[in-house]
């Protein structure tokens, strides 16, 4: 499974980072950086939680 970011949609709320800090973070400019793109089973739940919390649906797990 892969985490996919729709960058133009992201508004930099960082709620996703809060849900899955091991997978992504906002950099100093407030841009979201995916630290892990290919997620294995261990991280899948965290990835899904991050996807779900984003109020503008900028993230997807595909």
């Amino acid at each position: 499974m892969k985490i996919v970011l729709d960058r133009p949609r992201c508004e930099g709320h960082g709620l996703c980072e809060e849900a899955a800090p091991q997978l992504m973070h906002l950099d100093d400019d407030g841009e979201l950086v995916l630290d892990v793109e290919a997620v294995d089973n261990g991280d899948l739940e965290a990835a899904k939680a991050a996807v779900r919390v984003c109020p503008v649906a900028a993230l997807r797990v595909a």
Partner: protein
């Protein structure tokens, strides 16, 4: 605890969705049923009053990714009653849906202003709560009608901002200074100044009713004045959807008061806009996006783990976008007095601010300033003296 075999979730908003996902994440592999009166998959309500009002041709900013919880969905049907003794949800069409545990996630609906003339024809007032409302509003804004928005809260201000951007002439009716109840005087001033610059007119009075004057819509104000508008949109608060629970025995003081794990009983949890839960500022309803999500996670775990589940210690996160300002706040609102910690100045650029409360907690606010939420939360939680220097810029 008895092993759970059958969970029924009532309400298909973000709380219903998150509870269902969280139940699966917590290992629940039994039968899951979602009952919802909206006929579509859950979507982002916050987007409706922001990007969705302004989206170009197609409107997609409210879409949420598809769910993976594999629940049986009964959509387009309302629950009309909850029988906790028989452990069954009774639907509008008479069907009984039995459960081992039930999740109440029926959210809230828009309050409306009454007609001034009780016998007269009902005066049209739009509200913005669901997808259909947003579609209607978008369609109506195309002809650039003159608009009166009732209510100076975050939603009313976001709608007013969207209507101005759509090219309408907009008057906002607000008894108090807009946003003062939600954010406090300092931030209210920041937003009102920006709104005025964008051309918003503010009528400082309470709307007492609507009247139809030969096809014209009129808004009557407490100060005796009358405003005419081609379109009236009300944003005067929300009412929790509790009616279907009136015979359940679960309501106290007319509210659905849950414990720190979202429970009303071991087999009944509630989450989202519908529920009042213990916060550091008393038992309150906190009708916000992250509130719904956090309550849902706690409630789902409580169903699976009982008292071993963690308790909710809710830290509010709020954001809004309007009149060119983008605000993020971590901590309780409204805020008294000027900010105690400032970087920049919200009147002429990006700013990061902090207010301290008597109980030692704080609220951090960023305006037009990109900052990760965990950082904003840390800033709200640190005492000003101990606050680390910010390295975000």
């Amino acid at each position: 605890m008895q092993p759970l075999k059958r969970v029924v979730v009532v309400g298909n908003g973000i709380a219903g969705l998150t509870t269902s996902d969280s139940l699966r994440a917590a290992g629940f592999d039994g039968e899951l049923t979602i009952v919802g009166d909206e006929n579509h998959a859950p979507y982002s309500r916050p987007a409706l009053s922001k990007a969705a009002l302004l989206d170009g041709g197609e409107m997609t900013s409210h879409h949420l990714p598809p769910s993976g919880h594999g629940a049986q969905e009964i959509l387009g049907v309302s629950a009309s009653r909850l029988d906790v003794a028989r452990k069954a949800v009774i639907l509008d069409d008479g069907t009984d849906v039995p459960y081992d545990a039930v999740v109440i996630a029926t959210g809230s609906r828009a309050r409306r202003l009454g007609n001034a003339d009780l016998d007269g024809p009902e005066v049209e007032q739009l509200t913005l709560r669901n997808l259909e409302d947003a579609l209607t509003l978008r369609k109506r804004l195309i002809s650039k009608p003159s608009v009166v928005v009732l209510g100076g809260g975050a939603l009313g201000m976001e709608i007013a901002s969207g209507c101005l951007s759509a090219g309408c002439e907009v008057t906002l009716v607000s008894r108090d200074r807009p946003l003062v109840q939600q954010l406090g005087p300092y931030l209210s001033d920041v937003f009102v100044a920006s709104a005025h610059r964008d051309g918003l007119k503010v009528a400082s009075s309470r709307a007492v009713g609507l009247r139809d004057a030969g096809g014209h819509r009129q808004v009557l104000l407490a100060d005796g004045s009358v405003i005419e508008a081609e379109l009236v949109i009300s944003a005067v608060g929300d009412v929790p959807n509790l009616e279907w629970l009136s015979t359940s025995g679960l309501l106290s003081n007319g509210r659905l008061e849950v414990d720190t794990r979202g429970r009303l009983r071991p087999d009944v949890v509630a989450a989202g806009d519908v529920a009042a839960f213990p916060t550091r500022h008393g038992i309150r309803r906190v009708p916000l996006w992250t509130s719904a999500i956090e309550q849902s996670k706690v409630g789902a775990l409580a169903l699976v783990q009982g008292d071993d589940a963690p308790e909710l210690d809710f830290q509010p996160y709020f954001w809004t976008e309007q009149f060119g300002l983008n605000l993020k706040a971590s901590g309780f609102l409204p805020l008294a007095g000027p900010p105690g910690f400032v970087e920049g100045n919200p009147h002429d650029g990006p700013a990061l601010m902090r207010w301290s409360h008597e109980d030692g907690s704080g609220t951090a606010v960023a305006i037009n300033y990109r900052i990760p939420i965990p950082k904003l939360r840390r800033l709200s939680n640190t005492a000003p003296a101990a606050a680390p220097p910010l390295t975000n810029r």
